[in-house]
C-alpha cells in the first residue's frame, strides 16, 4: 500500500480541474486555457512520479488502492497499475496536453472546452486504472459524454450526426458489455477483474456461467466482445469511426484516436482475453479474418478517400487492426502443442508498442491535417492542395516524418511494433502475416499519394496563395511528437523495458483451462 493514493490522484486531478473551471464562470479564455493545460499536465507529472518507483520486474499490480465501496454488491474501489496500464496512462499523459495545445487558438469558449476535455481525460485514465468493473464501467461510459459534446459543439458541419452516431454506436456496444457483466455477477458474485481473471484462468468462470443455462457462456463472451469490438473498432464494426474522426475538432480527433481507441484494445487485453481464454481461442480463427479485414480493407478504403481526415481515420482502423491481429493470433495458438512462447512474446510486445506508437503518429497526422485545414480555411480535400512543401518546408518536413512513422519506416517509432507483430504472427499463424503484408503495402501507397498530392508538384489550390509555415504553437505540438518518434524508433527498450516481464509471464503461461 502506498501512503499517497497516487493512482486516485492521477484520475481525479483532471476532474478537480474541471470542477474548478466550472466554478469560475467569469474566467477569461487565456486563463482558462492555461488552467486546463496545467491540470492536464498533472497526469504526465504524476505518471512520471509513478514511473520513478515503478518496478517493471514485478508482474502484478502496483500502487494498489482497494477499499470497500458497496458492501452489498461486493463492489470495491480498486485501482492498480501494471506495465500495460502504465503504458496507456503514459500515453494519455503525453497526448492530452498536446491535444489541448492543438485546440489552443481555434476553439471558442475555451473554458467550457477545457472543462469537458479534462472530464474526458480523467475518465480515460479511470478506464486504464480501475480494476473493478463497477467503477471501470462508470469511467468507460462517462468518457462518452464529454466526447459527445466536444464533437457536437466544436466539430465540423456534419458533427451533429457524427457525434450522435458515435455515441449511439458505442453505447450500443456497451449495453452488451453491461449485460455480459450482469450475467457474470449473477454467476460469480464478483466484479473484480483480478478475481475474475483467476477464475478465467482456471476455467471456473465458464463453468459458473454454464450454471446459469446452456447458452450463457457464449452469450456473455459475445456481449463483452461486442462492447470492445465497437470501441477499438474491429472490422466491420468501424463505420462510426471515419465520420466521427473527420468531423471532430483537431484536438479531439487526436485524443479520440490517440487515447480513446486504445480503451478498446486495453479492454481486449485486460478483460476479454484473461476472462475468456477458452471462448476466445475457439473464436479466434474467424476473428483473425476480421482483423485481417481491418488491416487490408481499412488500408484500401483509405486509398479511396479524398478527405484527409477520413483517410487518416481509415489508417487508424488499419493500424489498430494489427494489434488485434496479434492478439487473436496468440489466442489461436494458445494451448497448441507447438511451443510458441517466443512468438507470442513478440506478438504481444508488438501489440503494446503499436498501441503506443500509433497514438503518437496518428495524433501527429491528425494535427498536420488540422494545420492544412486551418490554413486552407476549412478545406481538407486531397485535391485542395499542391506544392505545400515549397510554401512551408518545415511543416512538410515534420509532416513527412509523421507520415513515414505511420507507414512503419525503421528508425521511427512505428517499425518496431509492426516488425514484432509480423514476427509473432508469422510464428503463430503464418498465412495471416502474409495476407497482412497487403495492408502494409496499401498503407505505403495511400500515405505517399497523400504526400505527393498535397506537398509535391507546383503550388496549387489552397497553397497557391500565401501559406504560412508553422507557428510557435504548431512547433509546441509537433516537435514533442516527432522527437518521440525518433526516440522510440531508436530506443524501443524505453517502452519494452516497462512491460517486458509482464509480457514474458503472459507468453509463458499460454495454456487453455
Amino acid at each position: 500500500m502506498n501512503a499517497l493514493p497516487l493512482l486516485s490522484l492521477i484520475i481525479f486531478v483532471p476532474w478537480a480541474g474541471a470542477v474548478l473551471l466550472a466554478c469560475l464562470p467569469r474566467l477569461g479564455a487565456p486563463a482558462s486555457r492555461a488552467l486546463a493545460l496545467g491540470f492536464s499536465l498533472s497526469t504526465l507529472a504524476l505518471t512520471l512520479a509513478a514511473l520513478g518507483s515503478f518496478d517493471p520486474a514485478t508482474t502484478g499490480y502496483q500502487f494498489v488502492e482497494r477499499h470497500d465501496w458497496i458492501r452489498a454488491l461486493h463492489v470495491h474501489y480498486h485501482l492498480g497499475l501494471d506495465g500495460l496500464s502504465l503504458l496507456l496512462v503514459l500515453l494519455t499523459g503525453l497526448l492530452s496536453p498536446l491535444c489541448l495545445l492543438a485546440s489552443w487558438r481555434t476553439v471558442a469558449e475555451a473554458r467550457f472546452f477545457g472543462l469537458l476535455f479534462l472530464l474526458l481525460q480523467g475518465a480515460a485514465l479511470g478506464v486504464f486504472l480501475a480494476l473493478d468493473f463497477f467503477h471501470w464501467f462508470i469511467f468507460w461510459e462517462l468518457s462518452l459524454i464529454p466526447a459527445y459534446f466536444l464533437i457536437r459543439l466544436w466539430g465540423g458541419p456534419g458533427a451533429a450526426r457524427a457525434g450522435y452516431q458515435f455515441v449511439i454506436y458505442t453505447i450500443g456496444g456497451s449495453a452488451f458489455l453491461l449485460l455480459g457483466f450482469a450475467a457474470i455477477f449473477a454467476a460469480t458474485g464478483s466484479l473484480d477483474f483480478v478475481e475474475l481473471s483467476s477464475l478465467g484462468a482456471t476455467g471456473a468462470l465458464g463453468g459458473k456461467l454454464a450454471s446459469l443455462g446452456g447458452i450463457w457462456p457464449q452469450a456473455v463472451f459475445l456481449g463483452v466482445f461486442l462492447g470492445f469490438a465497437v470501441k477499438v473498432p474491429l472490422f466491420p464494426f468501424h463505420t462510426w469511426l471515419p465520420a466521427t474522426y473527420a468531423e471532430a475538432p483537431t484536438g479531439v480527433s487526436m485524443f479520440l484516436t490517440g487515447v480513446m481507441s486504445k480503451m478498446g484494445v486495453y479492454g481486449f487485453i485486460r478483460v476479454l482475453w484473461p476472462l475468456f481464454p477458452g471462448p476466445l481461442h475457439a473464436a479466434a480463427g474467424p476473428l483473425l479474418w476480421f482483423a485481417l479485414g481491418g488491416v487490408v480493407l481499412g488500408a484500401f478504403a483509405a486509398m479511396r478517400q479524398t478527405d484527409l481526415k477520413r483517410m487518416i481515420a481509415y489508417s487508424s482502423v488499419n493500424h489498430l487492426s494489427y494489434c488485434l491481429l496479434a492478439l487473436f493470433a496468440v489466442s489461436v495458438a494458445t494451448g497448441s502443442s507447438r511451443p510458441a512462447s517466443e512468438a507470442a512474446a513478440a506478438a504481444l510486445s508488438g501489440t503494446l508498442l503499436q498501441v503506443f506508437n500509433h497514438g503518437i503518429s496518428a495524433a501527429a497526422l491528425f494535427y498536420c491535417a488540422g494545420v492544412l485545414e486551418s490554413r486552407a480555411g476549412g478545406r481538407r480535400g486531397l485535391n485542395d492542395f499542391g506544392g505545400v512543401r515549397s510554401a512551408a518546408p518545415v511543416f512538410a518536413g515534420l509532416c513527412g516524418i509523421a507520415l513515414f512513422a505511420s507507414l512503419g519506416l525503421p528508425g521511427l517509432n512505428g517499425f518496431v511494433g509492426e516488425f514484432l507483430i509480423f514476427r509473432g504472427v508469422w510464428g503463430l499463424a503464418p498465412w495471416a502475416a502474409a495476407v497482412a503484408c497487403l495492408g502494409l503495402f496499401a498503407t505505403a501507397w495511400f500515405l505517399l499519394t497523400f504526400w505527393q498530392r498535397v506537398f509535391h508538384g507546383p503550388r496549387a489550390g489552397a497553397a497557391a496563395g500565401p501559406f504560412a509555415d508553422l507557428s510557435g504553437l504548431d512547433f509546441a505540438v509537433l516537435v514533442p511528437l516527432v522527437a518521440l518518434m525518433f526516440l522510440l524508433g531508436v530506443l524501443p527498450h524505453l517502452l519494452t523495458g516497462l512491460f517486458n516481464p509482464l509480457i514474458t509471464s503472459w507468453a509463458n503461461h499460454l495454456v487453455l483451462p
Partner: protein, 673 residues
C-alpha cells in the same frame, strides 16, 4: 587499428552530417556541404583502416553484437560485422560517394535547396553503409528501408516537377513490394532459427550449424524451408536491384538530379540487392545439399538475372534519353551480377559490382557534366558534337563506355565480365543464362557505341549543345579520378593474379594462365568487337545530321523500335493490371464500407427505430389509454364541481343560510338529538 566494435562509426559519420544538414538553416550551404564531404572523407579513411584490418585475416568474420532491447526471455540483438566483403564494399561506397559529393558541389550550385540536397545525400550514404556493416539481418533491413526513403527523397528532389514526384513514389512503392517479401523472409528466418544475427559464435544464421538444421526442414509442398526463405529475401534484393519484373522504377528514377542517379544507380542502392544476396549467400546455397528439391533458390536467381540482363540490354538500344540509356544499361549489368550469384560465383558478382560502381558512376557523372553544360538537354538526338567543346568529359566518358562495353585487357569491365562469363559457362544446370550473357555482351557494346557517337560526334543539333562548354574543375576532377579507377580496378582480379577473389573468399585461389579459358575469352572479344563495329557502322560512320532524323534501326523496324522505346510496354502493362486491380480493391473496400457495413448498421438503426415505434404505439394504445381515460374522468368531475364556485359571496352566504335553516328544521322536526 579499427575493430568491428568501432565499425558503427562509418555510417554514423554521414548520419551526423545529415543531422547537421537537417538542422542548419537554408542559407547554411557551406556548413551542410562541408559537413557532408568531411564526414564522407572520414568514413572513407575509416573504411580503408577497416579494409586493412580485414585483409590481415581474410578468412575471419569479426563481429560485435549488442542487445537492442529485451524481448520475452530473450532479446533482439544487432551487431556489426567486418570481413573483406564488407570492407571492400565500404571502401568502394565511401570513395565513389565522396567523388559524387564533390561533383554535386558544382552540379547543384544554383539549386535553392542546396543544403537539403547534401543532407539527403548524407542520409542516403549513411543508410547504405548501414546495410553494408550490419551483422544482423534486422539491422540490415532497417538500413535497407532507410536507403529506400533516402532514395525517395533524392529522386523526388525536384518535387515541384510532377514527374519527379511520381517517379519517387513509384520507386518507393515498387521496391516496397520487394521489401515486403524480404520482411516475410526475415520473420520466417527469425521464427525458424530464433536469430537474425549473421555470425554469432555458432548461432548465427550464416553459420553451418544453423544452416544444417534449416536445410532439413521441408514444407508440405516439398519446398525446402531455406529455399522459401531465400526466395522471399530475394524479392527484396530484386526490388532494390531493379530485377525483372520489379525493374520499372529504375528508369523513371532518372528524374532525380544526375549525381543522385550516379549514386543510386551505380555505386549504392541498386548494388545493395546484389550485396545482400552475396552477404547471405550461404543461406541461398543451403538448399543445394537437397538434390531432390523441386527448386533451388539460386536457380531462380540465375534465371531472373539472365532475363534482366537481356531485357535491359535490348531496351537500352532504343532509348533516346541519355540517362535512360544508362539506366537500362544498369538494369542489364545488375542482371549480370544476379546471374553470377545464381550460378554460384558470388565473388564474380562482387567483382563486377565494384568495377561497375566505378565506370557507371563515371558514365553518370559524365552524363551529368553534359547535361549541366547543355542546359538540361538530355535527348541524345538533340546533342552531338560535344567532343570538341568538352574534351575532358569526352575522354573520361569514353573510358567509362569502353569499360562498360568490355573492351579487352585494359578496362576493368572486361575482366569482371569475363569472370561472370566464365562462371556462367561452367554452370551445370542450364546453358541458357550463358547464351543470354553472350547476347548481352554484343548489345552492350552496340548501345554504348551508339550513345557515344550520338552525343559526342558530328555537329551540335540544338542551340543548347552548340553553346556547351566544359564543366568546372570541381566536376571534371571526380571524372578523372573515376576514370583511373575504371581502368585500374580490373587488374585486381585478373585470372593471372586473382588477388581480389582470394581475399574475398579468404582462401588462396590458384592463378590460371591467361590462355587457359582462351576459347571463351576469344569469343567474348569477338562479340565485343562485333557490337562496337555494328555501332560504329550504324552511328559512327554516318553521323546524325538533324535532331528529327529517324534512327537507322527505327527506319528498318519501326514497330519493334517503338515497342522497345516504350520499354516493352511494362509500365502500360502494370498500369492496366496491377494499378487497376489496386484501384478496384480500393473501390471495393470503400464500397463495402459505405454500402454494406454502413447499410447493415443503418438497417439495425432502422430496425431499432421501428421497434421503438411499435413499442410506443402499444404503450399509447393499451397501457396509457386506460390511465388516460381514468384521469379524464376525474378531471371532468372536478370541472363540474368547480362550476359551483361562482365567486359570488352572496351566493355562498345564501347557501349557508338555507343550509342552516334546513339543518335546524331537520333537528327540530326529525327529532335528531
Amino acid at each position: 587499428m579499427i575493430d568491428a566494435a568501432h565499425l558503427w562509426l562509418i555510417p554514423a559519420l554521414p548520419l551526423l552530417a545529415a543531422g547537421i544538414g537537417a538542422l542548419t538553416p537554408r542559407s547554411g550551404r557551406r556548413l551542410a556541404s562541408g559537413a557532408a564531404i568531411a564526414a564522407m572523407a572520414g568514413a572513407f579513411l575509416l573504411s580503408c583502416l577497416a579494409l586493412q584490418r580485414a585483409l590481415a585475416d581474410p578468412a575471419a568474420h569479426l563481429y560485435a553484437n549488442f542487445t537492442w532491447f529485451e524481448l520475452g526471455d530473450g532479446a533482439v540483438r544487432l551487431g556489426w560485422l567486418l570481413d573483406p566483403l564488407n570492407a571492400f564494399m565500404c571502401v568502394m561506397v565511401t570513395f565513389v560517394s565522396l567523388l559524387i559529393f564533390i561533383f554535386s558541389l558544382g552540379y547543384m550550385k544554383e539549386d535553392a535547396n542546396f543544403k537539403q540536397f547534401f543532407c539527403f545525400l548524407s542520409l542516403f550514404a549513411a543508410a547504405m553503409l548501414g546495410v553494408i556493416v550490419a551483422n544482423s539481418l534486422l539491422l540490415l533491413f532497417i538500413s535497407w528501408e532507410l536507403v529506400g526513403v533516402a532514395s525517395y527523397l533524392l529522386i523526388g528532389f525536384w518535387f515541384h516537377k510532377p514527374a519527379a514526384a511520381a517517379a519517387a513514389k513509384k520507386a518507393f512503392l515498387t521496391t516496397r513490394i520487394g521489401d515486403l517479401g524480404f520482411l516475410l523472409g526475415l520473420v520466417w528466418l527469425y521464427d525458424a532459427t530464433g536469430s537474425l544475427l549473421l555470425f554469432d559464435g555458432g548461432h548465427g544464421v550464416l553459420e553451418s550449424g544453423v544452416l544444417g538444421d534449416l536445410a532439413t526442414q521441408v514444407l508440405a509442398s516439398g519446398l525446402a524451408v531455406p529455399t522459401a526463405i531465400s526466395l522471399l529475401i530475394f524479392c527484396g534484393a530484386a526490388g532494390k536491384s531493379g530485377q525483372f519484373p520489379l525493374h520499372v522504377w529504375l528508369p523513371d528514377a532518372m528524374e532525380g538530379p544526375t549525381p543522385v542517379s550516379a549514386l543510386i544507380h551505380a555505386a549504392t542502392m541498386v548494388a545493395a540487392g546484389v550485396f545482400l544476396v552475396a552477404r547471405v549467400f550461404p543461406l541461398f546455397a543451403a538448399d543445394q545439399v537437397l538434390a531432390a528439391g523441386p527448386l533451388h533458390a539460386l536457380t531462380v536467381v540465375a534465371a531472373i538475372g539472365a532475363i534482366t540482363a537481356l531485357l535491359g540490354a535490348v531496351i537500352a538500344v532504343a532509348q533516346d534519353d541519355l540517362k535512360r540509356v544508362l539506366a537500362f544499361s544498369t538494369v542489364s549489368q545488375l542482371g549480370y551480377m544476379m546471374l553470377a550469384l545464381g550460378v554460384g560465383s558470388w565473388v564474380g558478382a562482387i567483382f563486377h559490382l565494384l568495377t561497375h560502381a566505378f565506370f557507371k558512376a563515371l558514365l553518370f557523372l559524365g552524363a551529368g557534366s553534359v547535361i549541366h553544360a547543355a542546359h538540361h538537354e538530355q535527348d541524345i538526338r538533340r546533342l552531338g558534337g560535344l567532343s570538341r567543346s568538352m574534351r575532358t568529359t569526352f575522354v573520361t566518358f569514353a573510358v567509362g563506355m569502353m569499360a562498360l562495353a568490355g573492351v579487352p585487357f585494359v578496362f576493368s569491365g572486361f575482366w569482371s565480365k569475363e569472370a561472370i562469363l566464365h562462371a556462367a559457362s561452367e554452370w551445370d544446370v542450364s546453358h541458357l543464362p550463358f547464351y543470354a550473357t553472350l547476347i548481352g555482351v554484343v548489345l552492350t557494346a552496340f548501345y554504348m557505341t551508339r550513345l557515344l557517337c550520338e552525343v559526342f560526334r558530328g555537329a551540335p543539333r540544338s542551340p543548347a549543345a552548340a553553346h556547351a562548354h566544359e564543366s568546372p574543375r570541381v566536376m571534371t576532377i571526380p571524372l578523372a579520378v573515376l576514370a583511373i579507377g575504371a581502368v585500374a580496378l580490373g587488374f585486381l582480379g585478373t585470372p593471372v593474379w586473382p588477388w581480389l577473389q582470394s581475399r574475398l573468399t579468404g582462401t588462396p585461389i590458384p592463378a590460371r594462365p591467361l590462355l587457359e579459358g582462351g576459347g571463351l575469352m576469344g569469343l567474348s572479344i569477338v562479340l565485343v568487337a562485333l557490337g562496337l563495329g555494328a555501332g560504329w557502322a550504324l552511328y559512327g560512320r554516318r553521323v546524325r545530321l538533324t535532331a528529327t532524323a529517324p534512327d537507322p534501326l527505327a527506319a528498318a523496324a519501326p514497330r519493334t523500335w517503338a515497342f522497345l522505346g516504350d520499354r516493352m510496354k511494362f509500365d502500360s502493362l502494370y498500369a492496366a493490371t496491377l494499378v487497376r486491380l489496386n484501384a478496384f480493391v480500393a473501390a471495393l473496400a470503400d464500397f463495402l464500407d459505405r454500402r454494406v457495413w454502413g447499410s447493415a448498421v443503418g438497417f439495425l438503426a432502422r430496425f431499432a427505430e421501428f421497434t421503438g415505434v411499435v413499442n410506443s404505439e402499444f404503450d399509447d394504445g393499451a397501457l396509457n389509454g386506460g390511465f388516460n381515460a381514468a384521469s379524464e374522468d376525474i378531471r371532468r368531475t372536478g370541472r363540474a364541481y368547480s362550476r359551483a364556485q361562482t365567486g359570488e359571496t352572496h351566493g355562498y352566504l345564501r347557501t349557508l343560510a338555507i343550509a342552516f335553516v334546513a339543518l335546524a328544521l331537520l333537528v327540530l322536526l326529525g327529532g335528531v338529538r
